[in-house]
């Protein structure tokens, strides 16, 4: 047996803990059955409802927390270095922690899934097996994301000379997802992106049209969630490799970005054709550049080594050191250029954003990445993330107001990528990007204090 899985089983699923969990579940389900014994359809619907709740609490919340703290507790207990020195492979360490730390949570959660599936089978509901499969995939996805976020937090904290804490990591993850959703909902992403199929996907209602093909939403959602869970698991494994001091060639991250572009682009295809699909894919991938910029440790030594190796043409040394924001940004550029090629520069699509606006958006993203680097590589890297978020918020909010006062429309477009004057936004964004990166590079190059 995988020693890491076994150790987690010893700690998490000891006979005493399993016995207590069993007693608790028997009490919960027993009380439910007792209360619902006189209900019209019998107690099974109520039991299935409670089972769903148990799954949510145990599989999603408890399991995700357990997966995240599987690494963070090692840091707090000062056992992480001991683990990093083990002979376990990164994959064995990843799945041993993921399934082992959440083993008791899974035992409890599966009782809920069984009850839900039982009800659906008894009632002959269509897609009776899709729902449990979706729930299990969702829990696996969230647990893997949680483990990955913890590993990111550990690397960031180490580079910033502090200790990663569960609250900070989970808070950062939630805040990061929130901010990404805000940016995704901003003007650049709103203009008829042709993503009408996404709600059907999220809520598994009716059919989903993806790359022109129609799929039953319930099955599509399950398979897509399973695919994302696979990517999250792969991401956690890649991060574990880095923790074990191994090097990652930049292969998996670009592959995921391509998957993301293809996945989201598929929803826009039906409405706007290939050009719209490419642009939606580009915008989604560009958002990943923000995630990559914040997720990586603020390690200017590593960045200097990357620049040095690249300057010498030593790709073997440079590639594993490639900053995570580069791949999504380059891929977004390629996708935008492809959209230009298909749709023609400056043309407006029937549906979907204008390529010129998309290019302006990329220029601002380049500027934003420079601003993020400027703050994260500052003298107090532990405050870099917060400083970068505040700076970006001020640039967009105050800049937009100032631009609006100067000249509504065009003036605003100098500070915010707007469809009303995309070429002005593009020129302004590029100029600001040059300034931001020049300042950031000065900080990156600054010598260490001796």
């Amino acid at each position: 047996m995988n020693p890491e899985f076994q150790r987690n089983l010893w700690l998490e699923a000891s006979p005493r803990r399993v016995a207590w969990a069993a007693v608790t579940l028997i009490l919960i389900y027993g009380a439910t059955a007792l209360l619902a014994r006189d209900a019209g359809g019998g107690p099974l619907p109520a039991l299935a409802g409670v089972g769903g709740f148990v799954f949510l609490i145990c599989g999603v919340i408890w399991g995700s927390r357990a997966a995240g703290t599987a690494v963070l507790a090692e840091i707090a207990d000062r056992t992480w270095d001991f683990q990093r020195l083990s002979a376990l492979t990164p994959w064995a360490m990843t799945w041993g922690k993921l399934l082992g730390s959440a083993s008791l949570a899974w035992l409890c959660a599966l009782t809920g899934v069984v009850l839900m599936a039982g009800l659906m089978v008894v009632q002959g509901q269509p897609g009776a097996l899709w729902m449990p499969a979706f729930l299990i995939s969702l829990a696996l996805l969230l647990q893997a994301v949680s483990l990955g976020a913890a590993l990111i937090g550990v690397r960031k904290a180490r580079a910033e000379g502090r200790v990663a804490r569960p609250g900070g990591v989970m808070g950062g993850l939630i805040l990061g997802l929130f901010l990404l959703s805000v940016v995704a909902g901003s003007s650049g992403f709103q203009k008829g992106a042709g993503l009408a199929g996404i709600p059907a996907f999220l809520y598994a209602r009716g059919d989903v049209t993806w790359w022109g093909q129609v799929f039953p939403a319930v099955g599509f959602r399950t398979l897509a969630t399973l695919a994302f869970a696979g990517w999250a698991l792969t991401g956690a494994w890649r991060l574990m490799r880095l923790e074990l001091q191994m090097k990652n060639a930049p292969v998996v991250w670009p592959a995921f970005l391509i998957f993301l572009a293809v996945f989201l682009g598929g929803f826009a295809y039906a409405g706007g054709g290939l050009a719209a699909a490419l642009l939606v894919g580009a915008l989604a991938v560009a958002l990943a550049a923000y995630a990559g910029a914040f997720a990586e440790p603020a390690d200017r030594v590593r960045l200097r080594q990357f620049a040095g190796a690249l300057g010498k043409g030593d790709l073997a040394r440079a590639l594993p050191l490639t900053p995570a924001a580069i791949a999504p940004f380059l891929l977004a550029l390629i996708l935008v250029a492809a959209a230009f090629g298909i749709g023609g520069a400056g043309s407006a699509f029937d549906q979907g954003p204008d390529p010129a606006q998309a290019a302006a958006l990329l220029a601002f993203i380049l500027r934003d990445l420079g601003v993020i680097a400027l703050f994260r590589f500052g003298p107090r890297p532990q405050r870099g993330d917060f400083g970068a978020v505040v700076a970006l918020a001020l640039l967009y909010a105050v800049g937009g107001i100032v631009g609006g006062v100067i000249s509504p429309g065009t003036g605003q477009a100098l500070f915010v990528p707007l469809s009303i004057a995309p070429w002005a936004s593009l020129a302004s964004g590029l100029a600001q990007a040059v300034v931001a990166w020049a300042l950031a590079w000065r900080r990156i190059k600054a010598p260490e204090v001796r």
């Binding site: 150790r7 010893w10 700690l11 270095d81 683990q83 001091q245 603020a298 080594q305 890297p381 260490e448």
Partner: protein
């Protein structure tokens, strides 16, 4: 003799400061190297780099011929490392903690029980195998941590302040264990502030100060090594003109206090010739021994520079 650890021009940068400034040295196979220096000198950082837990900003480190950057996992499999602030799985029994340590370090399922018993025996924990790690005293926890570090019989052992918090008896046990492991051919690097204790088992010493090698590099150590060509002499019934008579004999007197003197051998002269010269001059010699320089002497001399 081959070098088991080769450190070359290692620089290590933290976000706000440089911790190591071009450190270079070798540790021979089978040596016990005492790594000494004041707090914040960079000893722990250096140990973490040797353990392939942190990557040097510049320079190279090879352990058993394996480059820490090119083959960190190979280095991990070769070494055992006990950090200064270690943790244990408090809820696991000693047996399970050692079983996990052995299995996670590549010991086969079949060999694990024997490895666990052997490691526990080496640190006198055989009678505590079923006790919870969290219930052990500070000293016993330290023993368990060391047992976890050596359960897979690594070729190189790195111990960062292993004696911190141990009582005198436990320190003696630790010294005995290190000597025993050294005799079996293990290469050991130990950092400690308790220099007198390092004296018991160290064969070499390296001083680190302000992130750089001080004192000229790796020095010989071990029960106090001879301090150049000095000899400590105690005279019985010393004559009042002892100093003049010694000078007249052509002996260099470095120190003369009452009946004790520190003499310096002339180039090419050996101890026995000097002793014969003193006795031949009618001086009554009560004690005669080469001056020994302890780790503490060497360290304090360097600190005073």
């Amino acid at each position: 003799m081959t070098a088991m650890i080769e450190v070359r021009e290692v620089v290590y940068d933290y976000p706000s400061a440089r911790a190591l400034h071009g450190v270079s040295f070798d540790v021979q196979a089978g040596a016990v190297l005492a790594l000494v220096g004041p707090n914040g000198a960079g000893k722990s950082t250096l140990m973490r780099c040797i353990a392939a837990l942190d990557v040097p900003t510049e320079g190279t480190i090879a352990v058993a011929g394996l480059d820490v950057e090119a083959d960190p996992r190979g280095v991990h499999a070769t070494i055992g490392y006990l950090p200064d602030f270690f943790g244990l799985y408090d809820e696991l029994s000693v047996r399970r903690a050692l079983t996990y340590a052995a299995r996670s370090r590549g010991v086969s399922v079949a060999d694990t029980p024997a490895a666990v018993e052997a490691a526990a025996a080496r640190v006198q924990l055989s009678d505590r195998l079923e006790a919870r790690a969290g219930e052990l005293s500070r000293g016993l926890k330290q023993r368990l941590a060391i047992a976890q570090t050596i359960v897979h019989r690594p070729r190189v052992l790195l111990l960062d302040e292993p004696a911190a918090g141990l009582d005198p008896e436990a320190r003696r046990s630790l010294s005995d264990l290190i000597l025993s492991l050294s005799r079996e051919g293990m290469t050991i690097v130990v950092s400690s502030h308790i220099l007198a204790e390092l004296e018991d088992y160290s064969t070499q010493m390296l001083m680190i100060r302000d992130g750089a090698v001080a004192g000229g590099g790796v020095l010989a150590a071990g029960g106090g090594h001879r301090d150049g060509s000095r000899v400590e002499v105690v005279f019985a019934e010393p004559p009042p003109d002892l100093g003049d008579r010694l000078v007249a004999l052509g002996v260099t007197v470095e120190r003369l206090e009452g009946d004790a003197a520190t003499l310096v051998l002339a180039d090419g002269e050996d101890d026995s010739a000097l002793l014969a010269q003193l006795i031949g001059a009618g001086l009554k010699v009560r004690a005669f021994q080469a001056t020994r320089k302890t780790l503490e002497d060497a360290y304090l001399a360097e600190v005073a520079r």
